[in-house]
Amino acid sequence: MFGKGLVKGMQITFKEFWSPKATIQYPEHQNPIPDRYHGRFTLDVDKCIACGMCANACPNKVISLQKQKVGTKQYLTNYVMKIYYCLFCGLCVESCPKDALHFSKVINMNQYHFSDIPLVLVQREAPAVTAESEVAASKTSDKEGE
């Protein structure tokens, strides 16, 4: 009554005026990101066996991978994620049998051009084939030709 509440309110806002600010100046400073955060993907190429289970697990068909047979092993040549369809559910990471696919803590995936948005994790040529594998490769190509 008689403005007691008004004075109290003014006191609160005046105190708040001098209190430390909660804002974090984003590009310069950043909140700590928890370990389980679903950020940008990383692929440990040496562990990957190009089985394609991640691509199968994906509900949005984000992952496309290309592989070549080098010798007796599958060799991953291309691993691209159409990250604009990704919902970061983590099914691909769970499905990986060799624990090669991981989330990182990178949250900033903005790009200026649309063509830069897809996340290219692997893009490489298959190594030069040895004599045995050349035969194997030619056999497969013959089959495809038929």
Partner: protein, 347 residues
């Protein structure tokens, strides 16, 4: 430092000595008016920035801090952007009145600043009915808000401007009645005389109730929160300036802050001792004291906005007519009796 601006005016006058005296005086007057114009616009820009900073700080935010050093150029950029925008005039407006309102909105404010003494001998025009002039001119701004709302041909604008007329007219009354107490003590309408009478005691101590009434009424006159019913972003889509865009909107926006400046100057002059230095701190020049006091009042008004919620229309009118007007009348009565007793004692 004390006579900086007075010295500049005198120097200008003496350098124009070769010209006929009327012409020289006219040029000095023109320079003064341009200086006031620049002062108002720079202050309005600064106040928009200050408002956003104060708002941010009271909400545990930082406020604008990216454009220019500490974000100081933020408002300048905003105005630049608004200048670039098209002013849309839709087909049902009363076009002449619609465009006239944002042009005229600065006029009362500018005219009022002519009589405000910013420091010792620093009023552009030292008028002997300065206070009357100020009140008369300041109340014409009601018409401009009405023009804007009426010409917009929009129901929100119309409601907003009707509220503005009702509010400004009904709060003018307690405002003037509160000033009456001060005028009774000083016996003058001249602002310099009123300030001179406060050399030993500010009127905030002798007329505390009048100060409160005047302060509340002037916050209401500037349509500031908690009396910002005429804007009412959440209910009236910004009231009278809904249809305005671009620079026309910017004029209303800046005029709001210029009006605040007038109100703060008025509070300073009438109740806070104008340019008198408190505690004998005379080494700070008088005009600086005036600004310091003005900005303290400004800060309080901004704090009010970020503390209290908007009140209802019926509460607003009830408070104005049932509380402030009787209280200010009682204040006049008590002041009269007090003056009579003082005279009887022989002080």
């Amino acid at each position: 430092m004390e006579n900086l601006f007075v010295g500049i005016a005198d120097g200008l006058r003496s350098s124009l000595g070769g010209l006929p005296p009327e012409l020289g005086e006219a040029i000095v007057m023109l320079v003064k008016l341009v200086a006031i114009l620049v002062f108002i616009l720079v202050n309005a820009l600064w106040l928009v920035y200050m408002e956003r900073k104060v708002a941010g700080y009271m909400q545990a935010r930082i406020g604008p801090n990216r454009v220019g050093p500490k974000g100081l150029l933020q408002t300048t950029c905003d105005i630049g952007k608004l200048i670039c925008k098209e002013i849309i005039i839709h087909k049902d407006t009363d076009k002449v009145v619609f465009m006239l309102a944002p042009v005229l909105v600065f006029v009362p404010t500018l005219m009022v600043f002519a009589v405000i003494p910013f420091g010792k001998n620093m009023a552009a025009i030292d008028m002997n009915i300065g206070l009357l002039y100020l009140l008369a001119i300041a109340s014409t701004s009601t018409i401009i808000f009405w023009m804007a709302g009426w010409a917009s041909n929009n129901k929100y604008s119309l409601i907003g401007s009707m509220r503005s007329v009702a509010q400004m007219v009904s709060y003018e009354l307690p405002m003037v009645l509160a000033i009456l107490g001060v005028i009774m003590i000083t016996g003058s309408l001249n602002m310099s005389d009123i300030i001179a009478a406060q050399e030993h005691t500010w009127f905030i101590f002798t007329q505390p109730i009048a100060f409160l009434i005047f302060f509340i009424a002037s916050v209401s006159e500037c349509n500031r929160a908690p009396f910002d019913l005429i804007e009412g972003e959440s209910e009236l889509v910004n009231g009278f300036n809904t249809e305005y865009g671009g620079m026309a909107f910017a004029m209303f926006y800046l005029a709001e802050y210029a009006n605040m400046l007038v109100c703060c100057a008025m509070v300073t002059i009438l109740f806070l001792g104008g340019w008198h230095a408190p505690f004998g701190l005379d080494f700070i020049p008088s005009w600086l004291w005036f600004f310091i006091k003005m900005y303290i009042v400004m800060f309080v008004i901004m704090q009010l906005r970020w503390t209290y919620p908007r009140i209802r229309v019926d509460q607003l009118m009830g408070f104005g007519w049932k509380v402030l007007v009787p209280l200010s009348l009682a204040n006049i009565f008590v002041t009269g009796i007090g003056m009579y007793i003082y005279r009887a004692i022989g002080w």
